[in-house]
Symmetry: D2
Subunit: 345 residues, 4 copies
């Protein structure tokens, strides 16, 4: 059960609700969000549920009580029936217009980054993506430019006006990354790095949470709960492929995840067909599938010269291929009453 | 390596090619196809490949020699670069117009079947599907009406003009099923039932081959080879979901399979979002994804009263929901330069 | 619910029980077993269960009524609490002494088969295994010697006294294979080939049922039900590896399956470490693991010259390696109060 | 390629080797280990390999040059052919005597911990395990006692003499945890948390690295490389179950992993049957399987009152059950020429 307080509920009203929860033998869990308090009622709730709903509903300052059968509360559509739409650097995520995050896997140099940022903006992307801290499976592989990469990202935003998204891998880096980035990315390998989730939950920068490649959707929603319970409610969920026995692609795109997540949760759902396929020749088909299935956006790897990319070259699109795909995506988006961002706007 | 003979190559020309293969130390494998002979060259082919290509290319009656690196030959796009399009009961499969196979999981009665057939035809389906022999995981579950069901299927075709597709589960039934059905379906559980594959390969009725839920795409193409090598080249490949750790849906739709199969093979690719999701509320999103990704058709379960269906009720669409989905699919199809069949045509 | 009749219950008593079931609104399902009738009560059984148990219990000819919560009935330990032990060619399967099925993947020639049969007998195997009908993923691969192979198997039994086991892949072959073999094997690819299951269920030759590599244990028990409901209760369950994302071995041995199957079912459980690993260097460790975990036997591929085997060479043990492994297995078996067959007995 | 320097090689000798590597066009990667320098030669090494081996072999201070075909170097058996055995708090890990890590999932109180520690010691465990920092999938679940838990662990060691192992989840906690614990555990969810791996690599406390439930063995060895390359070579690898489609157990124990890891790596291999099965009734069988397969130790959850455990109750053994299992394990260990620790020693 979750109790949603009215905007501007007083501390006394909140205290009365938490005491009331305790008097009934449950544990109140108050999220530290400043705008709208949501108080979770923890404990096994038996058949006297309905009476309690009435009781809590009538306390002063309470807007609404939601019964939630799932282990996750705040990301649940039961808790928040409407689709969540939030703005990042002036760009809405979750609404009619799709969020297109495009750019290289890794920021390799200022020249490479600016060239790519200009190209993806011209083709209609509304976010520039690029990795400064790279979690690589080999310690000998390129690990990213670190803070230098963050500065280049900021320069790309300066140059193009596109808000930027980048991955954060260490709780200690969250503050620094927030100084440069408009959107934080939690990578698949860190989806259950709870300390990192808590830290980005305490930040006020929105978070794109990628699904772990070996985790169920339910567990992904629990990971979103970890962020939201700290007060950061601007979370987008990203399907990026799961690990299965099929080996003709790098991962298996779980396209079912798009309607399932939209059904279970009110949060925006993004698809990453670059990682989910691993081969640039399959990216376009799966990107179109994602839009048709109802995704609120796409994460696409674009590199001016994939053959020489320091990471993920085989799955990166050239700028021309990206521009051409964007034209195709615009048609599919329109067929499902969505739209791509205005080109080069 | 595969040697494709000219249409109308003489028995002498064919014999000369097979002798020539043997003289080089390889084993010729001649498919019994009547229209166009294709002779596979079996054995390890080393560096002197290119010379052999030239040699075989110049033999009388040879149209073309294809080097094929994959273990499957006849379904390979290397062997047949153009998309295969074939007609079933006057309806093309694999071309611009999508093949929409709709109907109930099981034929339960003539009334149920005819009602559904009329409804799916009115909504634009160009094939009627229905099971007469059902492979059920429990021996106590409804096993289908058998030949009675086949007769009802034929009556549905009579009534609506739609060609009909139904599953065959026993090699001994193939001949009987071919008397009633226009299209044979091999179910997921029988994808590696090689005796059954050989028997449908010997038939002249086209075959829809469903992917085993625990098999790789490469193995599916090997299964297609089993059918084609017997001379039946009218095979369509059907992705119907694979088994993974994700449990919020019945199976995981491997949407990557659509572009991968189109890349590796020339055969038409069909998607079955009903089995691949297991819940009617997700069928529409995944159907649209399939069309956007380039599938050549869809297999959709439609039942006039899903709550009382004898099998697969939870994943069946009501006729109204199917009709509504068809309107949405028409828009997505058009966005990728494809089209749905003309409605009620 | 399952009603177990007394041995020798009269047709009238059986008829009374089935009528009684129908009068309560359920469907009786009578297995055609000759020795001991078991009548399944199909339908949703609600809270008045306990009364029905009493009622049915008191009917003449009834030995015992078992409430079974699982969808499978006859293989369930709820239905038959003791471990099942049955004899095949004089050798017990399921008791203290392990059943060791050893031999080549395919019967390639009489010389190869006899040599291997003598070697495995000398090392202590109590069953000789060998494939005459091979389900191969490529139609160009060696498909087995067919009836010729069955005759060689019979010659091996003649020579060594070991009962023989071989795979059957086509319902039409069941009768013929039963003429030669002591034990029928259903391969992983046919675990849900229900026609084949029914046909071997109608035979009186015991059946080793291999788990499909993409199927859950519950589904395997349902497959066993298909066989048992036809009256053949001598079924052994064989774990042979499942398909997962791990690619350093051919399949992943689901060692958990051993205690889970022993917990859920009374049938003997056999492990096949040859297929489950795919590499001879890992077979020994996994074979020992299987015995330690409580398996009732092992299926082991042995070939006099693995490098030249027509199938599955990389996972076959040489006779010397098999003999050496048997000595190690004897120690592990003894540590868990089991025993290997007496050597060369 | 990896160049192993002699113990006590001079800085000048090391510098000469790195220069020599650079002169050949490769990048040297020097691990900061103090006792024995190992210099990895990074870059694509073509056919002139053998000459280089000779060249590097003859440089002063070089003990040996190892050609390593795998992407991981330091955990590879190619780099270090003998089994690694290291001591932790006087107890050897990796040798003939098995390492038995037993204790509760979470430290809940001093009384619970001390009671369990005494019991597992009396039954023959040589390590006490207990979680102070718990990565839980729900933010509302018990998160562990934190530093208070570490102090209780130290008290348990004081009381019993058993060295203690506990999980570390945050890079910032590594130093603190090292003050209390003898052995650090990296949990499955953090197997690819590279910052954490680097930080424990910089510590001098040995590390038990658990396999991610969705990661391949190759990736686990790469994670070990991340730790070892920082200079901490005392790493044990722990299989704890992978995520598959089978749902009768919590995870699927990949028993193949035991011989595969022993084949590919020289590091000790530990099995965790508690997490890998998720049900206490299956733990014993799988524990015995692990020992029979060649594991160097076991991680076992023991709780005085599983029904009231704050985490992982269903998979925890009661102390009596643990003691009884230890007696059975001793017999299996002896059957494979291994031994359990002396009881209560």
């Amino acid at each position: 059960m979750v109790i949603i307080m009215k905007t501007g509920a007083s501390p006394e009203e909140i205290a009365e609700v938490t005491h009331s929860i305790e008097r009934e033998g449950f544990t109140p869990f108050e999220n530290p969000g400043v705008e709208r308090k949501v108080i979770a009622v923890l404990g096994v709730i038996h058949s006297h549920k309905l009476q309690l709903v009435d009781k809590f509903q009538n306390l002063p300052g309470v807007e609404r009580v939601a019964l939630i059968s799932e282990p996750y509360k705040l990301p649940s559509r039961q808790c928040h029936p409407q689709d969540t739409v939030f703005e990042v650097g002036g760009v809405p995520v979750g609404g009619k217009t799709l969020a297109i995050f495009a750019g290289p896997c890794s920021i390799e140099s200022e020249a490479q980054a600016i060239e790519t940022a200009r190209a993806v903006k011209a083709a209609g992307a509304n976010f520039f993506r690029g990795g400064a801290y790279k979690p690589r499976s080999s310690p000998y592989a390129f690990q990213g430019l670190g803070e230098e990469g963050l500065k280049i990202l900021a320069a790309c935003r300066e140059e193009t006006g596109l808000p930027v998204i980048t991955e954060v891998v260490d709780p200690d880096d969250v503050e620094k990354v927030c100084q440069y980035a408009d959107f934080l990315q939690i990578g698949a390998r860190n989806m259950q790095n709870y300390r990192l989730l808590q830290r980005v939950g305490q930040a006020r920068t929105p978070v794109l949470l990628k699904r772990g490649f070996g985790t169920r959707l339910r567990e992904m929603l629990m990971a979103a709960e970890y962020i939201m319970v700290e007060g950061n409610h601007r979370v987008a969920l990203c399907e990026r492929g799961i690990i299965t026995f099929e080996d003709s692609t790098r991962y298996t795109t779980d396209i079912n995840a798009v309607p399932v997540l939209k059904h279970l949760s009110h949060l925006p759902v993004i698809l990453d067909p670059s990682h989910a396929t691993g081969f640039s020749r399959y990216v376009g088909a799966v990107a179109k599938a994602g839009v048709a299935a109802g995704a609120d956006g796409l994460l696409l790897e674009v590199h001016p010269n994939p053959a020489e990319a320091l990471s993920d070259g085989p799955q990166s699109l050239k700028p021309e291929a990206f521009a051409s795909l964007m034209r195709e995506l615009a048609r599919v988006a329109s067929a499902v009453d969505r739209a791509l961002p205005e080109q080069g706007a």
